[in-house]
């Protein structure tokens, strides 16, 4: 019962603290809104800026028909925000000037002079080559069934086509794309431009689609990126509330002599630790529901917390609060508490697959992620809220539950109830 008294008092004290409320609730929500805006597409989808200099112009100075069509095709992808660079300008200088003092990603596509002519010549050569190959294959296949006259006609035709093909120049329409190596979107931009060029190629040579491509979801519900971020961000902030928030709060309690005052009463260490962890857990459950609520209302996410989610949030909160109690038991001053809390929490946040998929990390970092408690908590929340993958739920929940018990016991052990 004394643990409940501690729980009530600490929770009330926290609820009345504006700084505590901001860092525990408002800050995570602000970050969720920022991440959500990035990954949900709400407020208009983002476009990559691309400067285009079309050097392929007619004698009158207007763009040739095909170069203009290529620019239109780029624009129709809806991926780019195109800025035209006037012919005759130095494209790099022009782009730098347009980007202004704050800079930005410099991406320049140059359509070279002669693009249309090279495209027509190149297309003709490819089309003649295809006709020749087709006719030649037909000749090879049907030769046993043809008379001499038919053979002679076809051979003449093949010879003439070969001569025509040889007479056409080896022309390739030239596109130059200039990208900044520090630009994280460079690869995406290059791929999209290449895809548009390929589509253009196929269209010109008259090739149709042979492979069709259909995308479906592994789950019954159609989830978006933001849906996958909700459990991750929720897990990450439950972790930071425990490791950074609880550690600094308790270290401050210790510095101000509040823990010492309570230790002078019949209150036991276990009651104190359990009371603090329960308070932190309530805070985290509130935080989780607010974050999911914000996700529903602002970003129209489809993740659905169920009883298992609540149980896992409870266990996860206990686990990270347990770590917080361990840290506050061994750390003496608040500066060290903040430094150590941050040093542990932030790497864990990024190495647990919360913000980035584990697959993109080097194998040694993937190994590190397997010993981090947040990995199991985050994956467990994704399993309960999104995939509903039973084995994933059971395994991750079991790991979190065991760690929660271990961390509480260590937290009680290292909490100092007597001076030295």
């Amino acid at each position: 019962m004394r643990a409940i008294t501690v729980f009530k008092a600490v929770t009330k004290n926290w609820l009345r603290s504006r700084a505590g409320l901001f860092f525990s609730i408002m800050f995570p929500i602000l970050l969720l809104v920022v991440f959500g805006a990035i990954f949900s597409g709400v407020g208009g989808s983002s476009r990559y800026g691309l400067f285009v200099q079309n050097q392929d112009v007619t004698a009158e100075g207007s763009p040739t028909e095909l170069s203009s069509a290529f620019v239109t095709a780029l624009n129709s992808t809806g991926t780019f925000s195109l800025t035209e660079v006037p012919v005759g300008e130095n494209a790099t200088d022009y782009a730098r000037q347009q980007l202004g003092p704050l800079g930005g990603s410099m991406r320049i596509l140059i359509i070279s002079e002669g693009f249309q002519d090279d495209l027509i010549n190149g297309t003709m050569k490819v089309r003649v080559g295809i006709c020749f190959d087709t006719l030649n294959m037909s000749y090879q296949y049907f030769e046993p069934y043809m008379n001499d006259t038919q053979k002679s006609m076809l051979e003449d035709g093949l010879t003439q086509m070969q001569q025509l093909n040889s007479s056409l120049p080896d022309a390739y329409a030239s596109l130059t794309i200039m990208l900044d190596s520090a630009d994280q979107s460079a690869g995406v931009v290059q791929s999209i431009v290449a895809s548009v060029a390929n589509a253009f190629n196929y269209e010109l040579i008259g090739a149709g689609n042979v492979i069709t491509f259909t995308q479906t979801s592994v789950s019954n519900t159609q989830f978006r990126t933001i849906d996958f971020y909700i459990p991750g961000i929720t897990a990450a902030f439950i972790m930071t509330n425990g490791i950074i928030g609880l550690t600094s709060t308790n270290t401050e309690f210790k510095r101000r002599g509040i823990i010492k005052r309570l230790s002078l009463t019949p209150l036991t260490k276990m009651d104190w630790v359990v009371g603090c962890i329960l308070s932190q857990t309530l805070l985290n459950i509130i935080l989780s529901f607010i974050m999911i609520g914000v996700g529903w209302i602002v970003f129209n996410v489809r993740v659905i917390p169920d009883a298992l989610t609540i149980l896992l949030i409870f266990l996860g909160s206990v686990m990270f609060s347990g770590i917080g109690m361990i840290f506050s038991g061994v750390i003496k001053d608040i500066e060290a508490a903040n430094a150590i809390g941050n040093a542990v929490a932030f790497p864990m946040m990024f190495l647990s697959g919360t913000y980035f998929p584990l697959e993109i990390m080097p194998s040694y970092l993937q190994s590190v992620s397997k010993v981090l408690p947040l990995t199991y908590f985050s994956e467990g929340l994704k399993a309960t809220m999104i995939t509903k993958f039973a084995d994933g739920i059971v395994f991750n929940m079991a790991v979190v539950a065991v760690l929660a018990v271990v961390f509480i016991l260590i937290g009680v052990k290292v909490t100092r109830w007597r001076e030295k």
Partner: protein
């Protein structure tokens, strides 16, 4: 003789090579205010924290309310029976006075209501004020209230007035004086001489981990304080000569004040007769020794307001 509620025998506390408490022995009787007087670092708080069961002892023994502080099974019983105002008392800053007192009270199986204690300490006006909005003196009063909410037999007050302004200090003194009227035994640590002298029935002077004197303030002053001093402001030169001839122990300071050390009451009356005969117009003042003089006599030093030795 009253029962000993605290019994300390040859108590030792060592931190690595430092002997903070060096074999002290004393007894505190039920219903008295017992002051532990000494400078910072003398071993006051270490001793009191051993008695409060939050610091282990190195040697010797200590019993509080009949229970041994070094026995784990006794600690729970001791904590039920004591109330503590620790040094630099603090509480949850966003909780009200009443909520903070209730929090401490709820840690005990039996306790007074927060309202009762608030009334007792005249904190009714501040009952709903947040702890962080209170002045230093009021915070100390809340600390005393928290120490009393369990209705303890024995109250430890560790440096209860340190850092307070003179008015707030007097207020806290009134509170402590009232505890005695309520029948509580009070163990008070302080570095303020006047505080110990005004409040305590008995005083133990502790210096460098050892108790160097123990007794009531009168006993200590009688034993160590030296003679009373009669000061005649700007007395005439011939008076100084007369007094020197008859009584000795006369000095004249640079302001012309005559200081006469007085051995007993008879001597005082004889001096007063001379002053009356001479129809002296000067101011006359009788200065009695204080605990400060006792401390000076025993240790050869004084304690500053901050608690350090001069």
């Amino acid at each position: 003789m009253a029962n000993g509620i605290i019994k300390v025998d040859s108590l030792v506390k060592e931190y690595d090579s430092l002997r903070a408490v060096d074999g002290i022995s004393f007894e505190v009787y039920e219903g008295e205010v017992f002051a532990f007087l000494g400078p910072n670092g003398a071993g006051k708080t270490t001793t009191v924290e051993i008695l409060e069961c939050i610091r282990p002892l190195t040697g010797g023994s200590a019993k509080v309310c009949g229970y041994d502080v070094s026995k784990e099974s006794d600690v729970k019983e001791i904590k039920k029976r004591i109330g503590v105002l620790p040094q630099d008392f603090n509480a949850l800053e966003k909780l009200s006075v009443k909520e903070n007192i209730s929090l401490i009270g709820d840690m005990y199986d039996k306790h007074l209501s927060a309202s009762e204690v608030i009334k007792l300490l005249d904190l009714e006006d501040k009952a709903n004020a947040k702890f962080d909005s209170l002045s230093g003196g009021l915070k100390q009063r809340v600390g005393v209230a928290a120490a009393l909410v369990s209705d303890p037999q024995l109250v430890f007050l560790d440096e209860p007035t340190t850092g307070l302004d003179p008015k707030a200090r007097r207020d806290v003194w009134a509170v402590i004086a009232n505890l005695k009227k309520l029948g509580k035994t009070v163990f008070l640590t302080t570095h303020y001489m006047e505080e110990a002298q005004v409040l305590a029935d008995r005083i133990a002077i502790i210096d460098r981990g050892k108790i160097v004197a123990l007794g009531s303030s009168q006993e200590l002053i009688s034993t160590y304080g030296g003679l009373k001093l009669l000061v005649i402001r700007k007395g005439p030169k011939d008076l100084a000569d007369t007094l020197q001839a008859k009584f000795g122990q006369v000095t004249v300071n640079k302001d012309g004040d005559i200081h006469v050390k007085v051995d007993d009451v008879d001597e005082l009356w004889r001096i007063m007769d001379i002053l009356t005969t001479m129809r002296l117009g000067s101011d006359v003042e009788l200065q009695t020794p204080t605990i400060e003089d006792v401390f000076l006599k025993i240790t050869g030093t004084r304690i500053t307001d901050e608690g350090d030795l001069t």
